[in-house]
Amino acid sequence: MKRLVLAAALALSGPAIAQPTGDLGLVVERASGSLLVVDQSERARLGRIEGLGDLSHASLVYSPDQRFAYVFGRDGGLTKVDILEQTVVNRVIQAGNSIGGAISDDGRLVAVSNYEPGGVRIFDADTLEMVADIPTESKTVGLVDIPGRRFVFTLWDAGETWIVDMSGDEADITKITGMGENPYDALVTGNGRTYITGLFGADHLTALDLWQDDPQPQPILDGYAKGREGLPVYKMPHLEGWALADGEFVLPAVGQREVLWVDARDLTETGRTATHGQPIFAIARPDGRQVWVNFAHPDNDTVQVIDTISKEVVHELHPGPGVLHMEFTPRGHEVWLSVRDAGKVIVYDTRTFEKLGEIDAESPSGIFFTARAHRTGL
């Protein structure tokens, strides 16, 4: 009898609970401290979640069930939102100044990377209670999750990469020194094997093979800007887990108007592509056939598309002033671009480059589709 009642109750409450989220996403509205809930197929906004504080340079990750997002704000706020109810579930101010985060492979832990005080703090994903505090006395960048309930991050001031293993009762930390001067960001491949840091203070990047017991820093693209004058860097590039295009990494050069291609197996250079401006994001379409690139100020009104086979720019778009971010639909048929100063998110077909729609947003920056829940290292 009890069981019947329960079944009936579940059936009655079914539709609201069962609303799927796999087709949804969130857009950060950086100046107003809010998020837009968007629907990928409808190319429409469904609602707005407010009260998230300073969201400049904010990013977020998703729970494994794609219902909740953990939002990392510049003001040190860690906010858990429910994208179905469109509400803030919980919010803690965990530091003075933060820069991104990650969620563990089992979805139980959320790690936040902090500038002030420098270090990483790890929280219970359900309650947002702190379970580990890892001070570094350095600004931390390039925080990613890797398999085995582990996180990896890098120290801007100290040039070290730390691996934190949370599979046991306490944080077990491995420190790797000699990563290079002023690492500004990092990426990890979807299999959790190759971690690459970009360097502001040196003319190369540094890779780690995380499948080794004792990973050693390996300089790659050594001297890529040698003999050329470095341009002023008005915005640090981003390195993304989406950099892998058909067996090659495509990476933004610092202080140069080009992207660099690297063989993903032996990490040797395979080519360079001259670009319109200094690249910020170089993101492969999920199938790897194209790479889309946006640029730093004052060239941030333009996006270029590079063909992976020829390594040539095959298309140029001018979506509007302040293109800050690009997000592909999970299978890559469409791309969404946030155009900050136009107050719009614009959707394009990635084959025809036809504009398919646009969504009004207040100073939009990061766009995050829920499919990210099932990818390592984003």
Binding site: A31, H57, I99, Y115, K139, Y184, P232, H297, D301
Partner: protein, 103 residues
Amino acid sequence: MNKAALILSLLFAGAASADEKPIDAPALERFVVQDCGSCHGLTLKGGLGPDIRPQSLEHYDRETLASVVLDGVPGTAMPPWRPLLSEAEADWIATYLLTGDAE
């Protein structure tokens, strides 16, 4: 700033003295928030770059701060903005940063 505006501003900077170029206060304010903000934070309280709110800049005079904006700080991530800004604009930005106000 789009490319055409940049080229125009470079032309002006070359052809006339810097203070002949009109100051566009709303555009410069947006420039500080968005472009300085990409390293110093949207609220200017710091990020990869340091806190640049008025109380943190007290030890700077206006001329020195304007020259930091124009020429950057060698050996750090602070770039020279001279290719994009006139001296009058850098001066306006220095005043804005020191007082938290454009007037």
